[in-house]
């Protein structure tokens, strides 16, 4: 589904991602783990197109997308959620999802002025789908709330819902569990497994809680200081000396984990 091929990215002097290579197989749920500052979020930003790699290639669904802007990659079927909430705060929860559906006719400004009927059907479909998605994520009761007013955990669900609106092939989840309570966390895991099993969505998720990762992921990539340290099943990785060293053993890496 996706190849992250020998990618580097530096900010000033910091090599946030450093000659890093990994893949996300189709129909898998792949984990991306590593201590804080390892470059995981930067890697996601590069995959999604919010940052451009200094060197290296991103191949998505057989196509080189290294230089494509984020919105074009999204049209190819690549969605994401953010580590810190990125809701549309002054819009309702329902509108946050409706806007994420593509409405080529209705979004054209001349149609909006001269032919407001264009795109109405599509908007109705989007509304129905948004309602179903909110129900599926069990936040249907929040549909009319302003998105800026809901809790951090609910925003994570909202972003997942938003990412689902265009039926993407690959969804990147950046610490979807952070700041979410246990019950909700379990619920999110169930939803991810369900979407993967029944609808064939591919997921890649960044997560600190390794039990959570092992429940969801068939395969994990471990990043440390911008590089890929190792890759394998959660069990493999957990027994890897180097991983234990940087991830479990060394207390200094754990302060935010």
């Amino acid at each position: 589904m996706l190849q992250f091929d020998n990618v580097s990215k530096s900010f000033g002097g910091v090599n946030a991602v450093d000659q890093c290579t990994f893949t996300i197989p189709s129909a898998s749920i792949t984990g991306l783990i590593g201590p804080n500052g390892a470059g995981k979020t930067t890697a996601f930003n590069i995959i999604a197109g919010h940052l451009f790699a200094d060197t290296g290639r991103i191949v998505f669904d057989g196509q080189d997308v290294t230089r494509l802007p984020a919105w074009r990659r999204q049209h190819m079927g690549l969605s994401r959620t953010f580590q810190l909430p990125h809701e549309f705060s002054r819009m309702s929860v329902l509108d946050n999802l409706i806007v994420a559906a593509e409405n080529r006719d209705g979004e054209h400004i001349l149609n909006a002025i001269f032919r407001p009927g264009r795109g109405r059907t599509r908007e109705q479909e989007a509304r129905a789908m948004a309602t179903r998605t909110l129900e599926f994520l069990e936040i249907g009761s929040l549909r009319d709330e302003l998105a800026g007013n809901i809790s951090g955990g609910q925003k994570k669900l909202l972003e997942l819902g938003r990412a689902l609106m265009q039926r993407p092939k690959l969804i990147l989840l950046d610490e979807i569990g952070a700041g979410v309570n246990r019950t909700l966390l379990g619920k999110i895991a169930d939803k991810i497994l369900e979407l993967n099993a029944s609808e064939g969505y591919t997921f890649c998720l960044i997560e600190h809680d390794l039990d959570y990762v092992s429940r969801l992921c068939s395969q994990v990539n471990v990043m440390v200081q911008g590089r890929l340290l190792t890759t394998g099943t959660v069990a493999d990785v957990r027994n890897d000396e180097r991983v234990i060293d940087v991830y479990f053993g060394g207390g200094k890496y754990q302060e935010h984990a």
């Binding site: 919010h50 549309f88 509108d95 409706i98 209705g106 400004i109 795109g119 609106m165």
Partner: protein, 308 residues
């Protein structure tokens, strides 16, 4: 003042108030819906005013034209010229992030000011363009003509309102609001943020140009003095913020209210002793600033919030 006098004061108040309402709704399309910080409103207003003036005024030996064309073509031409200019600016400041756009638009407005002052062949310099017609001039004259014109202005206000309402309720408007709230997230759901921003910038500027045309036809004369940023850009921003950005009715209410206060402060400052008269402009600005403070203390989102 007798009743008729008051009525005609009201007519002239509503004429200028209406022109500001058009400007203010136009700014709402840019800032209220899209979060685009246009600090060069006066520039688009001037482009529109001069376009209409040159297209519709009688032929003059001093500058290009006039072409003596019908008023509607002046209004249309003003919108088109302002829109094309806006498109050019939008293409240059590619990202159109708030701060860059603010700087670029201030710079643009200053360039336009210099052009209209210095390019005599085009604009007749500081002497301005005269003999600009008003609609139905040969049928109505005097105070009747004033009434005809206020109706004309408010027809344009209605048109602007209508377009803006349609835009805000359309899927296009929803995307614009999403971009305003979080442009990175809008990018991540597949929206070509830049294209939408250019759209909003252009469509708002079209109506700013039309507002310029309206004022040129109203005064029948247009000179660089009328493009003073304080009078156009600053007032228009106060109007939108006080009225409630994101809300078209708020934009109209803000325009009328602030214009009323601005006109009244003129009555006050005109009674000041002469040595103060030269400072009156600053006093009036101060009063308007105080008014804005007062409104925002009570109504954080302006008089008409975005979601009622």
């Amino acid at each position: 003042m007798n009743a008729e006098g008051i009525a005609f004061y009201l007519v002239s108040f509503l004429t200028m108030g209406g022109i500001y309402a058009v400007l203010c709704i136009a700014l709402n399309m840019q800032w209220g819906f899209g979060g685009l910080f246009n600090a060069g409103i006066a520039g688009f207003y001037a482009v529109g005013a001069y376009t209409a003036a040159i297209l519709t005024s009688a032929t003059a030996p001093t500058h290009v034209g006039g072409f003596d064309l019908p008023i509607l073509s002046g209004l249309l031409g003003a919108g088109v010229m302002a829109g094309v200019t806006a498109w050019g600016i939008a293409r240059v400041c590619v990202r159109l992030k708030a701060d860059y756009l603010a700087m670029a638009s201030i710079g643009f407005a200053e360039i336009i000011r210099l052009v209209v002052i210095n390019e005599q062949w085009l604009t007749n310099g500081s002497l301005g363009i005269s003999r600009i017609p008003r609609p139905l001039e040969d049928i109505f004259s005097g105070r009747q003509a004033e009434v005809v014109y206020v109706v004309f202005v408010w027809l344009v206000v209605l048109l602007t309102y209508f377009v803006s309402q349609r835009l805000s309720r359309s899927p296009w408007g929803l995307v614009m609001r999403a971009i305003r709230d979080n442009d990175i997230a809008a990018d991540s759901i597949g929206k070509d943020v830049q294209r939408f921003r250019v759209d909003a910038f252009v469509v708002g500027s079209v109506f700013m140009g039309m507002a310029g045309a309206l004022s040129a036809h109203y005064f029948k004369f247009f000179s660089p003095d009328a493009t003073e940023p304080l009078l156009v850009t600053f007032l228009c921003w106060v109007m939108l913020i006080a009225g409630g950005s994101g809300n078209n009715r708020g934009a109209i209410a803000g325009a009328l209210l602030v214009w009323a206060i601005w006109s009244m402060t003129e009555i006050i400052t005109s009674h000041l002793p002469v040595e103060w008269a030269s400072r009156s402009a600053y006093l009036r600005m101060l009063l308007i600033g105080l008014f804005l403070q007062f409104v925002l203390q009570r109504y954080r989102q302006g008089l008409f919030p975005e979601r009622g």
